[in-house]
Structure formats: C-alpha cells, structure tokens
Amino acid sequence: MSTILELKNVQKRFGATEILRGIDLSISAGERVALIGPNGAGKTTLFNLVSGRFAPSAGEVWLKNRRIDGKKPYAIARLGLARSFQATQVFSKLTVYENLRCSVLLGLGYGAQWLTSVSRLKEVTARTEALMEQTHLDKQRDTLAQALTYADQRALELGITLGGGADVILLDEPTAGMSQTETLFFLELIKTATHGKTLLMVEHDMGVVFGLADKIAVLVEGKLLAFDTPQAVRANAAVQDAYLGDFSVSASA
C-alpha cells in the first residue's frame, strides 16, 4: 500500500512549551488509524498541524506526495483532506440540509459560483440527500443546526466533514460525550461512511479504538510511543505503563 499521509520529525512549540517533540508517522491509503494518548499529549495539536491550522515549528508534513506543512487550511482541504472538530463546528443558523449542502458545494468546487441558483444543481441536491440519509438526519432536514440534540450535532459535524468527498478524514473525538448506545450507533456510521477512505481519529473510548482501528498510534508527552496493530499495542509494555493500564483503571472507576 502506498503512503498517503506522512509526518517527518514534526515538532511544535508554543513559546517555550514543547507540545510535539519530533513525530514520525506514515499512514497508508485506506488505513484506519486511531490516535490515543493522555490529555495534553498533543493529539489535537497534531491534527491542527496536519489540517493547516498552525504550521509546525520544524519538520515536514506530506499528503499524497505533496508537502503541506505551512499551507492554509483551505488549500489542504482542496487536496482531499477533511477534519472534524472536538467542539462541534456547524453553521448554527442554517438548517441541517443547508449545512450538509455547504460541504457538498465546496467539495464539488461550486463555492464561488454566483450565476446559477443552487436548486438547479441536481448533483448537489442528490448528494446532499444521500448524505442526510447516511448520517440519519433526514428527519431533521429543516431543523436549524443550533436546535439539534448534542448527538445529532455530532452526526451533523461528521456529515459536514464527509460531505466534501475527501479521501483522507481526520476525526477529533467523534464520540466524546455520547452515551453507550449512541457511541455504538455512531461507530457503525463512521465505519460505513469512511469505507475505502483513510481515517485518522483521536479517540478516548477504548472499545471504539479496538473495534475500528487497523493501527493505533500512541502519543505520550509529545512523542510517538508506539505505532502498530491493536494487538501489538495492547501487548506493548511501555504503552501499558504509560497509558493503557492507567486508562483502564480510570475507565472502570
């Protein structure tokens, strides 16, 4: 399999604080990778560097054989990378349908088009309808995003992320704050919706991680402690010391 996303010695400092201390990570096309690690390990910072929110202090990020570190978020998104946010980022005064349509429009490159009415773009309508069904939001079609329940907002967040048709998807704690049943349901949703795509996901729920991921990357204090299959990571003594053991204690408490 070919490498689609690669980080080479990526470092990030905020002032004197080192957040990431040299990350090397190579993800193949079609792989599902879970990024785990304790709070403050630098998981979201890593997402921000890859998606263009910040530039790394040192190192390189490559997407589909193009160097993307330091590029603007919209330039990276156009190369086929989409991300979701830990704190839901939707268009609050637009309806569910309009929210998803925005993402579809941009994915198809219609964002600057000002000479046709949006209702005439049949492909956009069809894709938006399909996306609504896929995320099970079709019953809330005309509900304003701000009026949705938390779980539905998370589904909308996922729908917006997927709607542009990107083939590299970054999900930042998609199931955070959800109940057990909601999480299971959502996991299925992510599985089917990202079929055949490359997925990098920050996740705290170990059930989700082991059920979904082909590989697990463990980030501790800004360093990559392990990057391997779930079985290998589970057996890794260093990981158990640093993170998993600790986590299972706190999760069962």
Partner: protein, 409 residues
Amino acid sequence: MNAAPWIAVVAGVVLAPELLNSTWALTLLSQIGIATIACLSFNLLLGQGGMLSFGHATYTGLGAYGAIHTLNAARAAGVDFPVSLIPLAGGVSGLVAASVLGFLSSRRGGTALAMVTLGLAELVFSVALMGFAFFGGESGIAGNRVTESAPWGVTFASPVEMYYLIAAYALLSAVALYALTTTPWGKMLNAVRDNAMRVEFLGTNPQTIRYRAFLFSAFFAGISGGLAALLFERVTPDALGLERSASLVLFTYLGGIQSFIGPIVGAVLMVFANVGLSSLTPAWLLYVGLAFVFGVMFAPQGLTGLLQTAMAQPWAFYVRHSVILLALLVSLGVALLGVTALVEMAYQLQLEASLGPNVAFGFFGDWGAFQLHINRWQDWAAAAAVAISGGWFFLRLRHALIVRLGAKA
C-alpha cells in the same frame, strides 16, 4: 418561489404615480426606491454575510460622485450619453472603490471588520472635506440630468419620468440581489456568517467570499448613489458622511436583517423619518435613536420579524389574549406619549428664547389638542408620570404575556 407577491409589487410600483399624483409624493417614492437599493445592498453584508459595515455610505457616496462626474463629463464632451445609464456609472464607481477598500475591509470578520470599515469611511470623508476639486468642497458638485437628446421622448425633466427610472432600477436591483442569495456563493456567504473557520477547513478561503460580497454590495450601493445624484442633481461630501452610514445601519436593522424584505421596510422607515418626522419635530434624530434602542431591546428581529411572528399566530391566539394584547398596545401608546412630551419639553427649554414656553400637542387636527408649559413643574411631573407608568405597565404586561405563552407551550 411564489410569484404573486412580486407581481403585486410591480403593479403597485407602476401604478403609484397614477394614484398619488403630486410632486411631493413622487419625490418621496423616488427616495424610497433609492433607499431600498441602498438598504438591500447593505443587508447583503450584514444580514447575509454577518458583516457589520459602518461605512456603507462610502460606496453610495462615491457612486453618486462617479455618476455626477460622468454626467458632467459626457455633457462637456458633447457625447450623446443616455442619462438612464448614468446610475450604472455610479455602480461601477462603487465597484472600483470596493475593489480596494472592500479588499482591506474583508480580510477579517467580526469586530475587526467593523473597525476597518469605520476607519476607511472616516478617511474617505475627511479626504472629501480637504478641498479636492473632485468633491467640490462644501457646495459639492452640481449637474443637470436633462439633456438635448430625448430617446423615446424621455428627458427626465419631469418627476414622473425620474420616478420610473428609479423604480426600474430598484426592482431590477432587488431581483438581482435576491437571486444572488440563492446561488452557491450566496449560501457560502451564509456559512461564512455562521462559522468562517469551518468554511476555511472545507476548502474555501472565507476572505474571498467576503470580498466578493463587498464588490456586489458596493456595486448596488453605487447604483443607489447614482440615482440620488440624478434625482437631486447635486452631490455634496455629506453623501459620504458617517451620519449617512449610521442611518443605513439603523434603519436596515429596524426593518429587519433576517429576511429579504426587512431592508425594504427599513428604507420606507428611513425616508419617512428623514422627510416626515424631521418636518414635525427638531428632535427627530433623538426619536430615531430611541426607536433603534427600543428595537434592539424588544424586537431584535426587526419590524418585519415582528410582523411575521404576528401573522404566524392563528386567530384563536388573538381572541384568547385580546385583553392583554390591547392593554399592551395602550400602555405602549401611553409610554410613547409621555416620552414624547418630555423630549419636546426638553427641546423647548433649550430653544425657549425663540419658541416661547408652550409646547402644543394636537392629534387629528384640533381634537385632543392641549398645551404644556415648560415653566410649570406640574407639567414636567405629569409628563414623567405618564411616561413612567406607561413604561411600567408595558414591561409588566409584556412579561405577563411571555409567561402565559411559555406556560402553554
């Protein structure tokens, strides 16, 4: 989209001069048309794009200057230029101005944008006052819209012809601006309003979306300015002033920024305030300010939003709550009466030397006429008592209504 309201509007606009055959009414309607284009173009920024521009008069004003200079240049060169196209020269002037000023304004959203537009507007206005020949100093630039050539016998010498020109531009601009909101770009503009950061991560630079909004908005603002230049045949630096910009913010907001027709309602209010209210009382600007504060506090969705909410209620709602609604209206009227009395007395106090100590009130001619004396403390106390009690009852009744509606839901 339902075509019936649009047909009704067009019919009303076309037939208006037949029904109101007075020059005064025609000038009023012409000004409403001009203000409509200006407010609609402003709301493309505020309502659709979430961009609070404090400098929209920069574009209407520069459009007016561009139009009047084009008119004068064509006349001086002896070119046979159709006067009906002069407003387009205003539109192009607005567009050119926005290509630079709008670029600077649209780099950032939110508060930064508001500050930049304010600064640029102040800059342009002070340049206009510096005495460059282009702006014509205090007396401005005069022009003459009536030319020798008369295509189809139209010379724009009569107010009716001018009215129809303005009406045509207003209708076309409204349709064009509405159409823009239905395009993919228009939808992106809404998305940028709600969450610019999200748009950026979906593959479009929000700055380019905002910049384009400035270009469109300034083009139509320029058309509005160009029409004003033709109507009044004079453009002064006041056209670029902050007062004009503030007025656009105020009345568009009062009309309602969340619906497309809100700014049109705002435009009507603006012209009635500028022309009607200002002839009734010297304190008219104070009333406009009070109305704005009141609107922001009690009807943030604007007059249009208020009417839409009212119209969405079934008849049963009005029957069930008839007493409280009526009391609410009466208390509002009483409060307004008291406030008006206080404001008028305060103004009279300031201008006593020239106007004398009496403030005359009259409703429907002589019916209900009475006088207040600014030298009698009893009159001040009475006015204050009326204002306070009316206001108190209004707030209590409003609260009671909200509680009642909330309990039902």
